[in-house]
Subunit: 204 residues, 2 copies
């Protein structure tokens, strides 16, 4: 949210249900209208709140949509499928499934585009979406190390660079496949992609 609810303060507290209603209404509007035709007045009507309430909590469309989209990615998980390759295929498929949803497609790309000219927005995206999901890469590597599929990482700086590279390659490829090439990131594609990734990383 734009203004975090301070802990000990007097006065009427902000309605928690309004937050949820607004974010849900934002996603619904993204599905039906897309980014460019989405107006804050419309979102407020859908959520059953006044437009002024919306402006009291978010400074604008960008921040609102980032928060609405960020919630979508929290459902990503990394179930143990027995091998590094299977784990990776699984999470990539989950990621692809989220990107197949229209509220994620139109919302995510639009805020990334806006973020190219807005450092604060870029930081917000990084904090609430990107960095938040890097946990998956870290967990996958840790699990592979436990299995003995990967040697334990030694140089922490080199290790961080590799995580960033993996994340850029995975997220970038899936996004490009889904949104630019407009082809489904189905099991066949994910299998081919994962093979290139893992073979390439293993050789390095």
């Amino acid at each position: 949210m734009q203004t975090r609810t301070p802990a000990g303060r007097t006065g009427r507290p902000r309605s928690a249900s309004a937050d949820a209603a607004i974010l849900a209404a934002t996603r619904q509007a993204l599905v039906e209208l897309g980014w460019s035709k989405l107006t804050l007045g419309d979102v407020a009507t859908r959520a059953g709140v006044a437009k002024t309430t919306l402006y009291r909590r978010w400074s604008g469309k960008n921040e609102l949509v980032v928060d609405a989209v960020a919630e979508l990615f929290d459902e990503l998980s990394l179930p143990d499928r027995g091998s590094l390759a299977a784990d990776m295929e699984g999470v990539v498929l989950q990621f692809a499934a989220i990107l197949a949803r229209p509220e994620a497609r139109s919302g995510l790309m639009a805020v990334v585009a806006e973020a190219t000219r807005d450092e604060a927005l870029r930081e917000r995206i990084r904090a609430s979406i990107v960095d938040r999901q890097k946990r998956l890469v870290l967990a996958g590597r840790a699990r592979a190390e436990e299995r003995g599929e990967l040697p334990p990482s030694t140089d922490p700086e080199e290790s961080a660079r590799t995580v960033d590279l993996i994340f850029d390659m995975v997220a970038g490829a899936v996004v490009h496949r889904t949104l630019v090439s407009a082809q489904p990131a189905d099991e066949e594609w994910v299998r081919a992609f994962t093979r290139v990734m893992l073979q390439g990383l293993a050789a390095a």
Copy 2:
């Protein structure tokens, strides 16, 4: 352009210089204002043409910006650097250099976002940007085959799938690195990326 200039037609012909001026003005406005604050009225003023002239040629902001951005990617080339790895590093660096320019950053992502809800726009992007640059992948592979670095491709369908995969991975990773992670795709990163790509492809 929105309406191609028909060949044999009577009447005053459309000014060719106006097209160039409008596209240049669009890029300039993208740099100074970004996507969301760019208005067609402003572009028309910058280009020294009337707003109505602009609407006669393009149906809207989306189509205009696609054409303005597409021109940026035509300067990509594939100089012979002696090896597949060097060729790939070279073209990836060129691609990164274009994406480092503000008119490409803000424009490209925005139209991709809009394209998620507009099939015609998606097709326009694919035709005027994506497919147009796949020539680089094809040329790089052909050159590598001549050098003997790659076996000649046999199955044409499998071959096409590989080209698509490579393109999604290269373009996606560079875009994500540059625009989402907001880190420079510098020589060090490109070298690491290229190594993973080529090792991964070689093993498959």
